[in-house]
Symmetry: C2
Subunit: 463 residues, 2 copies
């Protein structure tokens, strides 16, 4: 509970119409896209960096947690206010401040919706590749804080690879500008990339400058179908081994395609165990050459059929299907755990086998999809959190999946972040020594632990 004095000060800073304390308002900001939730004490929707600075100074003085929140699409519990405090709702800071055609950069406020931004830059013949599948609701600020990825990560990398400059409010309320519009920049520690992906624990991102690239001249989509999921996974590895880096390289198992078809039919095949959905982009000439080569590799990997989308409409339909996967999963079960353990690309066939074994061992339904071109798997556990017995099996299965991913040289998260959901696994990946290094950094800049406390790791050893 915050005091009425603090509430009054927040109203003075942000305007009383932008401070919410009613239970129905607090509830709206209590959850993200995981199954977790907790009520904040207050929701504040600031309009300016100066307001955020004042709010953070107040919170730091009063030792009140501050949790920045974009679209609420986080898949790791990153915005859940487990210790109460202030939810900083950034939807009012939603201006595209500049698209700089000469420097191929754009500067935006954190609350800009990712898809809105895509459209704005593409209208200028430019391209911002990061494409988290929640892009219709997610914000650029949230994407930076979580270092969001997406299918196009295979060729184009993730959000962090596009961030050139940030304005950040520090945990003590200072305002820092790091980076800028320059493409090269090695002055001082790379605070920009430290803030990006820090899940709101080191600073509040208030302005973002990103690098844009020329919009590719052409793109084509191919769907390759396989009798076994193993063959499909082997084809993924084979494509990379043949030195082809497609724009996207997605693996889907039978169950995922079945769920998508019953949710939003796009014509995925119902009689195969696995399929890969591939997009290539570049010059017209290169795209045609690449798509032929990919088809050839799929055939060598025993594909049953390879279907090249005949036009952009057909391609768009296939991708809309893929994008509806999360909706389809959520409709099919009360509780869905979307994991994103990531392995070196050559280990995709191994992790697919291990996930299937784990599903059998714990008698669980775990449809598999993933941005497999970069080894970023999304095994999804369909369950019901009210079923305590099944939840025990779910927990054990998740433990085992992460154990398997790490044993294969992988990582806990490719693009969803750690948040609350994967915090307990952090010592498995980094050991206490690695965590202590991170804790030192956190403690040094946020001595009162007010910025998004409890996310990513606890400040003391133990869970």
């Amino acid at each position: 509970m915050i005091s009425s004095t603090v509430a009054e000060q927040l109203r003075r800073i942000a305007g009383k119409e932008n401070v919410f304390t009613e239970p129905e308002d607090l509830t709206c900001y209590s959850y993200d896209s995981t199954h977790l939730s907790a009520l904040p004490d207050v929701v504040v929707a600031p309009l300016t960096t100066a307001e955020i600075s004042e709010i953070v100074k107040l919170a730091n003085a009063e030792r009140i947690p501050v949790i920045p929140r974009g679209g609420g699409t986080c898949l790791s519990g990153g915005t859940i206010p487990t210790d109460g405090g202030i939810i900083l709702a950034l939807h009012r800071m939603n201006k595209i401040l500049e698209i700089d055609q000469d420097n191929l950069t754009a500067t935006v406020q954190p609350g800009v919706i990712t898809a809105t931004f895509h459209q704005a830059v593409e209208k200028e013949g430019l391209f911002y590749p990061p494409d988290p599948q929640s892009m219709l609701m997610s914000t650029i600020g949230g994407n930076v804080a979580e270092n969001a990825g997406g299918p196009r990560g295979v060729k184009y990398g993730v959000t962090k690879d596009y961030v050139l400059g940030l304005e950040v409010v520090t945990p003590t309320g200072g305002i820092l500008r790091v980076g800028g519009k320059t493409i090269k920049n090695v002055s001082g520690y790379d605070l920009m990339r430290l803030f990006a992906g820090s899940e709101g624990t080191l600073g509040i991102i208030t302005e973002i400058t990103v690098r844009l690239v020329p919009l590719p001249e052409a793109k084509r989509t191919l769907l390759a179908m396989f009798d076994t999921l193993d063959d499909a996974a082997a084809a993924v590895s084979s494509i990379i081994k043949h030195r082809i880096i497609p724009t996207t390289l997605e693996l889907m198992d039978h169950k995922i395609m079945e769920l998508i078809e019953s949710f939003k039919p796009v014509g995925f095949p119902m009689d195969v165990e696995g399929a890969i959905l591939i997009e290539v982009d570049g010059s017209e000439h290169d795209v045609n050459k690449q798509i032929d080569k990919v088809a050839e590799i799929c055939a060598a990997c025993r594909s049953r059929e390879v279907k090249v989308a005949k036009d952009q409409a057909e391609a768009a339909q296939l991708w809309a299907g893929r994008r509806s996967a999360f909706g389809a999963l959520c409709k099919s079960a009360r509780t869905v755990f979307v994991e994103d353990a990531t392995v070196p690309r050559s280990k995709v066939p191994d992790i697919v086998k291990r996930i299937q074994e784990i599903a059998r061992k714990y008698d669980l339904v775990i449809p598999i999809l993933g941005h497999t071109g970069d080894g970023n798997m999304h095994p999804n556990i369909l369950t019901d959190e009210r079923n305590a017995e099944e939840m025990k099996r779910v927990d054990a299965a998740i433990d085992e999946m992460f154990e398997a991913a790490l044993a294969l040289g992988g990582t806990l998260s490719g693009e969803h972040g750690i948040g609350l959901i994967k915090r307990k696994y952090m010592p498995w990946q980094f050991g206490e020594e690695g965590l202590d290094f991170m804790r030192s950094i956190k403690r040094s800049v946020d001595p009162n632990n007010i910025l998004n406390p409890g996310k990513m790791f606890l400040m003391e050893k133990g869970e």
Copy 2:
């Protein structure tokens, strides 16, 4: 001076044949590629990470500075042992541990020479783009510590963009592994990119895993000559504005070409004020299309002549010329200041004009070259450090150049790092608030300030 006990312990750890205390040995490790130098107390050449861990633990207990050193090609004074201490010479740790064809990654020890690594991966049809011009002597470890760039940065980015995993010895002697072989990785703070570019102040890099890309099918080189340097600079901006991102896009003024021709003649024209040297790579088809378009843009920017290298031998000759620029500069003057202030790409014509004005104002010879496709300028001041009067003008000119670069939205360093040379300018770019943020991080992980102390910034305010 270190005590004989410490020297004895170092001999025990690294073997007595790998510990050097004779003046002639110390002198060899007293300098880098700036005009600065200072003698270390001892040089140790370890062979393993375990040895480095032991050395750092000892140094931390005894409060002795430790300065890691690769090829000694640093252009910002990053390896100068200004406070004495231990130079950690990493040339014995020079193994390419693995080139992973399935994952398109390579794992190397820090002492591997950059050019040796290029050759090794290119033999396998793979490509490691970062190409600092000192690549025949620089090491991958040094490149990571300084986040080295090079001409190919325009299209391919800098060293940091290729680092996937690091093994690091922390300032207290712990051994951390961060990242790995996965292409996506958002687990925890991005320590990898914090270590990279931290100039040896946060950890000693002992093993590096980098991402490789497929070797482009084709490349072509073009030299465009201009009557005025302004026209040449305008052409650089126009190429980017036309949404063409060449592999390299180098600007050279008359003076640079003259120096190169008298040092290692490659046929640069002597009757023009400016030239741009461009390489494009990709598929055969795309490369030809791009080179035609670039030629067209140069013509529109009033180029006097555009010469496309007829084969790889002719292209290689032009590039060998460009790479010999530093040698040519060093031969032509006793003291050379190679700066690397970087501006947004659209500001290249402005900074070129400002540098010319500054040269006139302070009556100095400042030949200009630069990786201008990414705004990374290299104005070079030819002088003589024994001439006290001229050195005053040099100092004032450098101050003014950095002031100009920052005023144009630029940064102090695009690829050479801050080291000692640019430390005094850090408050101009970050303010004391930004520096304090960096100091907090440094203090939190290196409480005794033993790792490369005094580089990048001082721990207390002031110079």
